[in-house]
Symmetry: C2
Subunit: 183 residues, 2 copies
């Protein structure tokens, strides 16, 4: 069960598309199976139980997101951290990323509910994202770690504000992050 065969890969891809459209926590086995042209019976057979399905799905989605992000924003240092934030926000607001944002907010809500599997995944994703941001910060940054974490916090706030229809508020924060003299 460790190696992921080509068939399982296809099943995961189809389920991922379904989850990106409809959300993670509302996904149940039968609709998931239908999306992948298989049966709930087979999902359990391959992944053990529902947690196994969700875990595999989370891994698949995280990998897909990272590769998409790397594709959109190559690993080069930006001139200013404001420009970096603006670039990431632009990607996150693109249609391609909307599904990932939905899933991410599901993970966050589940983490807040202290569902450990989700909380661990969520924490790991943030850590990866901190590293991703750090290597793209301007060269002269005197405190890259703090800058990366600040940038990420503003990004998360932006996702929340966008979700509830107040992207304008997030824009204010982005402009402010970009315009201060701290860089």
């Amino acid at each position: 069960m460790n190696e992921i065969s080509a068939k399982q890969e296809k099943v995961l891809a189809a389920m991922a598309a379904h989850v990106l459209e409809h959300g993670l926590t509302t996904a149940s086995l039968r609709p998931l199976a239908k999306a992948a042209s298989t049966s709930d019976r087979m999902l359990i057979y391959h992944f053990g139980d529902k947690d196994g399905v969700i875990g595999a799905l989370l891994g698949y989605l995280a990998a897909g997101f990272v590769s998409g992000l790397d594709m959109a924003i190559p690993a080069e240092r930006f001139a200013t951290k404001g420009a970096l934030l603006a670039a990431v926000v632009a990607v996150m607001r693109s249609p391609m990323a909307a599904g990932y944002a939905r899933v991410w907010l599901d993970i966050v809500a589940a983490s807040a509910r202290r569902e450990i599997a989700y909380a661990q995944t969520g924490g790991a994703i943030i850590e990866g994202f901190v590293a991703w941001v750090t290597v793209r910060l301007p060269d002269g940054e005197q405190n890259p770690d703090r800058a990366a974490r600040t940038l990420l916090t503003v990004l998360e706030g932006t996702l929340v504000m966008d979700a509830v229809g107040h992207g304008d508020a997030a824009d204010a924060a982005i402009a402010w992050f970009s315009g201060d003299g701290g860089q």
Copy 2:
């Protein structure tokens, strides 16, 4: 059904306590009814359907949250906007507010899923919060609206980071928000 009787008030309070503990979107009628020492039958009778129950609950929770927040932080202008953010974050991180944060992230996730009832409530809460912040900003603030929205975005980012166990990252953003020369 417009007037809320004392009995309904009690039912709402009991259900609110249950939701603050266990989350909003995972709440179903029978557990909710049990928490309020009544029956699912009666909840439907009083509130029409489940959406009615959730709507009433959201209103009750929002009112409770605002009054708790007003209690903790009176409507006076702070010396710096950084101090205001720090004060709000301190309240949001207190045990009293943990349940509200959980429910809020449920609302955000549902909004991202485009469930309109939640999205509207979420937007309204943000608008109320912007006003709440604005009247507490320092007197000399040259762009209070922008400052309030920026502060709120950082606050939302903090909630997300706290949920996934990276409050340290949020601390960096808070310190940065407080320490820049923009005030």
